[in-house]
């Protein structure tokens, strides 16, 4: 890869699609060298194909874009509003953001989302942890410390997005999860032996049985291309890490995926393919879905995860509901035993990004 490229200066390399302009990047998916204009065209067209082939939307649907201000959701908002116009999807698009209440992090990224609201002409709805749960992340961290706070982040954010989507009365919620994210999640679910999640995490649409289905139009889109697209198009996104502890285990999986990608970029699509091809054996019991007795949110337990965590916070026992019965660090769970006697594993993507 490096050897053959080393010979020529970039100036001499022509785009393999149009054969006219200077190539600007090497596509990880196909290894083609293409120019900027051809890149925009294939990037957008591939996402359009994914949307059409998987029938992600129906005309006149209301669709919320989970917007964190980060690269993925910013590019998603831009491309989706572009495709909606170009191909007459007939969608009503909205931006939906969650304000976790993290000083100096979320305030800044929310400013980015507010600029996107104007730049792309999409109405924005912000739901906050404070108004939904009575607690900001800053307050939670003050109480429980830096460890385990991502559990709160992940559980609360997921539910906050659903509640925001309900307030907007949308039919669907789309998130910016990209191919790298999904490959990483496949790997993590294998490492944790979580077969139920393994088969679910590659689905392009999830929660069709719940109130608001979620879909991932970037399922096959490489992170490298998303970042290149944002760079060439000069899209305005926010890229600071969350100040609260990231998930170290996920960090290792991420690094491993990136190392594989450098050696063989196809690896990312192949891992997704492997995840898709896993089928749940009948011996693995899938949890039954019901509703939380306290708040009515979808839950396989008596109380939903957010209510269990909130109960702990409000009673001054913040460790309640944290920890898992399975997984990497076989630590004994301090969670209250719930209806079916097991506790589900709670995991979240690192702060600043949206959960599955």
């Amino acid at each position: 890869m490096e050897g053959e490229a080393a010979a020529a200066k970039p100036k001499g390399r022509l785009c393999v699609i149009c054969n006219q302009k200077r190539a600007a990047l090497k596509r990880p998916k196909t290894l083609e060298q293409i120019c900027r204009e051809c890149f925009y065209a294939v990037f957008e067209e591939e996402i359009h194909r994914v949307i059409v082939d998987n029938q992600l939307f129906k005309p006149s649907e209301r669709v919320a874009i989970g917007a964190s201000g980060g690269k993925d959701s910013t590019v998603l908002a831009y491309v989706l509003s572009e495709l909606n116009r170009r191909h007459n999807y007939g969608l009503d698009l909205f931006l939906l953001s969650v304000d976790e209440g993290i000083t100096g992090y979320r305030d800044d990224s929310l400013e980015t989302v507010k600029r996107n609201e104007i730049q792309y002409g999409l109405p924005l709805k912000v739901v906050s942890y404070k108004e939904l749960y009575g607690w900001t992340m800053d307050e939670i961290v003050k109480l429980i410390g830096m460890k385990n706070n991502c559990t709160f982040c992940g559980v609360f954010r997921r539910q906050a997005l659903d509640r925001g989507a309900a307030l907007l009365k949308v039919d669907k919620l789309v998130t910016g999860h990209n191919a790298d994210d999904i490959a990483e999640t496949v790997l993590l679910n294998i490492l944790r032996g979580d077969i139920a999640r393994l088969s679910r995490c590659t689905s392009i649409t999830t929660g069709e049985d719940g109130p608001i289905p979620r879909c991932k139009p970037f399922k096959y889109t490489y992170e490298k291309e998303i970042v290149m697209y944002a760079y060439f198009k000069k899209l305005d996104y926010f890229s600071t890490e969350c100040i609260y502890s990231p998930n170290a285990y996920r960090g290792f999986a991420r690094e491993f995926i990136k190392d594989l990608e450098r050696i063989r970029p196809r690896a990312i699509l192949d891992i997704i393919k492997s995840g898709e091809d896993f089928r749940i054996s009948t011996s693995t019991k899938m949890p039954e879905q019901g509703n939380c007795e306290r708040c009515g949110y979808i839950s396989s337990q008596k109380w939903c995860k957010a209510c269990v965590l909130l109960e702990g916070l409000n009673r001054g026992l913040p460790k309640l509901g944290i920890g898992r019965t399975r997984g990497a660090n076989h630590e004994t769970s301090k969670s209250i035993k719930q209806r079916n006697g097991t506790t589900d594993s709670i995991q979240s993507k690192q702060c600043g990004s949206l959960d599955f």
Binding site: K9, A23, L25, K26, D181, Y231, K349
Partner: protein, 121 residues
């Protein structure tokens, strides 16, 4: 540096540059990498090519950046003698994977952009 551009200074700088063959580069750190350099996103640097050569490779530039620009957590930027996987590099707005990555040769006034893809979502 530009604020000192009096006529005399310019000629001296020009003299030194042609004498020592300093090369000028403009480096951009994006996508969170600027946090490793006191949040400074744009760095104008002068570098001297090794043993009097007229050009310099990305490998050389990277080791210079690591020693001179990165203030904290170098492992977020580098792995071995290259950038960490997940950090994109563009030389004059062209993906360095097209120009030989570490073997890419740089010329005077080239613009090099480093973008981390690893922050946020």
């Amino acid at each position: 540096m530009t604020s000192f551009r009096l006529v005399g200074v310019i000629s001296i700088v020009t003299l030194i540059r042609s004498f020592k063959m300093l090369m000028f580069f403009c480096l951009f750190l994006r996508g969170g990498l600027e946090l490793l350099c006191d949040s400074v996103k744009i760095h104008n640097v002068d570098l001297e090519p090794e043993n009097g050569e007229k050009q310099l490779t990305m490998k050389h530039l990277l080791s210079w950046v690591r020693t001179n620009l990165i203030k904290e957590r170098p492992e977020m930027f580098m792995k071995g003698d290259s950038v960490r996987p997940g950090v994109l590099v563009l030389v004059n707005d062209c993906d360095w994977e097209l120009s030989g990555q570490l073997d890419t040769t740089l010329e005077d006034k080239d613009v090099v952009v480093f973008i981390s893809t690893l922050h946020g979502g």
